[in-house]
Symmetry: C2
Subunit: 400 residues, 2 copies
């Protein structure tokens, strides 16, 4: 097929351009006085909220930038991640439409995705930091994980079709960010690392810890090679919008076919960060969320396996248990990597960075580093989420 139409040339949208696009596509009424604000707080994308003030109707226009703002324009990033994000949202919506924003339109050349406005919800990380419980979050996230991951794996998807999706979701630029910032830089004396001077001894201990580094190498190998299911790829609490009733998972631009345990582990770790940042008597809800995430994941994954398994060996006694054990072991290891990199690597989390006073922040990060190491090195012997809580309690006692 020949495309004789001239391709639009990429340029970043302005607020007026966003309004014009919304009108042109008739997503909002042409004859109304639309308002627009750029609300992106990320560092990779423009995010415009376009609203019709007459009835409050609104949409989100998201556009990928060709560079990462966090380090200036010097770190170029492919616009292809916009295609990946749109396609991942559409694929996830086949299995869990209730947990992802609706996509109304996309334009690959302009790196634009137009989607449902979720401003009535709050970013889960911020909600947890402000002390909210988000009681249904873990039930929803557990179901999201189970269904998006099972139905895009060789267990639950036609294996021929899955291979074409693997091809479509090859995502080298964003995978490289994970490979560097999660699995490599924090374990070496690398310029991207960012930590308080009081942590210097702890950090050097990590750099010299060959037992730990060998296990991280193995987890990195699995991340690099194991095309198990279509991951979200960046499933921290900053990628979740929620309130008391509703949960929406956003921003799957890191999506690629990787190990199921990676998504699960990111969720575990980011719930732990918030637990660690709270007063002891307010931590229980977070451990409850960790346990519920896994319990619901197991329940929904097992149901899907029994009802919709396409791989003939899903009928074989023992195979589901083996797969779940493998996912859990890898999730524990990946949670450990996330704990370490968010404490001393380039990208931090507000849960830890806002802890006061300063001394408590340092002590908490030391606890995080110790728990991270234990999870990575002992991931084969940690068999349930209850043990995460026990490890947390023991480590907190040993440091304080």
């Amino acid at each position: 097929m020949c495309a004789h139409k001239k391709s639009p040339i990429y340029e970043p949208l302005t607020e007026n351009g966003a309004i014009a696009l919304a009108k042109k596509l008739q997503l909002l009424p042409e004859n109304s006085q639309l308002t627009c604000n750029e609300i992106g707080d990320g560092n990779l994308n423009l995010v415009f909220r376009v609203e019709n003030p007459e009835n409050g109707e609104s949409i989100i226009i998201k556009q990928a930038l060709p560079y990462a703002k966090v380090v200036g324009e010097s770190w170029p990033l492919t616009l292809d991640r916009s295609r990946i994000e749109t396609n991942a949202l559409l694929k996830q919506a086949e299995f869990v439409p209730q947990y992802v924003p609706k996509v109304f339109y996309s334009d690959e050349s302009l790196a634009i995705t137009i989607m449902e406005d979720l401003s009535h919800l709050e970013i889960a990380r911020a909600a947890f930091i402000s002390g909210k419980d988000l009681p249904l979050l873990s039930q929803h996230v557990g179901e999201f994980l189970a269904k998006t991951l099972f139905y895009t794996s060789d267990y639950g998807m036609d294996q021929h079709y899955k291979k074409s999706l693997v091809q479509q979701f090859i995502n080298p630029d964003l995978c490289k960010i994970t490979e560097d910032l999660i699995f490599t830089d924090p374990f070496f004396n690398h310029e991207t690392n960012d930590y308080e001077p009081e942590l210097q001894d702890d950090v050097e201990q990590i750099w010299q810890d060959n037992e730990l580094k060998l296990e991280v190498a193995k987890l990195k190998q699995i991340f690099l090679t194991k095309a198990e299911a279509l991951l979200h790829g960046d499933l921290h609490t900053g990628s979740i919008f929620a309130d008391e009733q509703e949960t929406k998972i956003i921003d799957p631009e890191f999506a690629y076919f990787g190990p199921i345990g990676f998504d699960v582990g990111q969720v575990f770790a980011n719930l732990l960060f918030n637990a660690l940042s709270r007063e002891t008597n307010k931590q229980q809800i977070l451990f409850h969320h960790i346990e519920t995430t896994w319990d619901v994941f197991v329940k929904e994954f097992s149901t899907a396996w029994e009802n919709d398994g396409l791989e003939i060996y899903t009928n074989l006694d023992g195979y589901l248990d083996y797969v779940l054990e493998q996912i859990f072991e890898e999730a524990i290891g990946y949670a450990g990597c996330e704990l370490i990199r968010r404490s001393i690597g380039l990208a931090h989390v507000a849960d830890l960075d806002t802890i006061e006073p300063y001394e408590k922040k340092i002590t908490t990060k030391q606890i995080v580093l110790k728990i991270g190491r234990e999870l990575i090195v002992n991931r084969k012997t940690i068999k349930n989420t209850q043990q995460i809580r026990e490890l947390f309690n023991q480590t907190a006692l040993s440091v304080i």
Copy 2:
């Protein structure tokens, strides 16, 4: 880019067409009386040998057929495997030009690859069956495996570039043949299976052996998901041309990014078939070949790892040992799968099928099935190639 040129329409080449093509491309002199024979004994391709009888100069023109002959025209097969084969040969030639046929020309639309004629060599399986030793074969194959697999893995290839190759070598049709015929059908009562009636009890025992089937399910999962390196994908002794001095590995149309142990295990198993088909006093050279394949693989892989490792963790003590152990364990498991499927599945090997008298053939296949099971189930405890020989001796004694 618009392709205004009309694409050639695929049709199978005739002998005259092959001669005309060789002349048109000036691969052989236009003014000579070229001869041509279709020499393909496979079931998926036409293979023309075009020769200039004046000086004996010759080339091979290989063309993929759009169906598998083995089951008539009813089993359609993508012509895309011709592109895969050509690209795999070219990629392998970057690392081991001495062990692959030179490619002179290819045409994706016509599914044609023109390459070096290797008729002065003999197919290794036939040579072994006729009692030859092929003394350098395992040294060459070990080096071929080590270099093609190391330099296309995340250990030795730029990880960004590797992902684009993974994308280029997605090979769903030919992978499905392996997934079905090696990992699935032989372990179930499936119509593709083909075995002597005397093996009915042994076969039913396999179908009911849940411990075995669970391990096969795990090996199939690894084959489906682990994009470790660019495999040959079908490395049996029928894909090797050799004589006393030279070795050439042909037919990589099953190439895709999979677990390194798969290629290694196929080699082990096919050397074992020949050992099993020989008189006891002529078996030693085959065990020697198995041991040499692995020893040379380890030596060359380790040298490449130390000199050319691109992954930072290749500098870490213990990581190479871990990777080699994992490869060996998987190779042992995959060898076991190959042993079983060549005895009772759709595609047999001449080594076993030509054993006489008939009773000996049955007994030998029973031994093969038992060794296959042991290799699969005990792959974690088998630590060196010497143990394969011991297992062989024990099993042979227990059956006879």
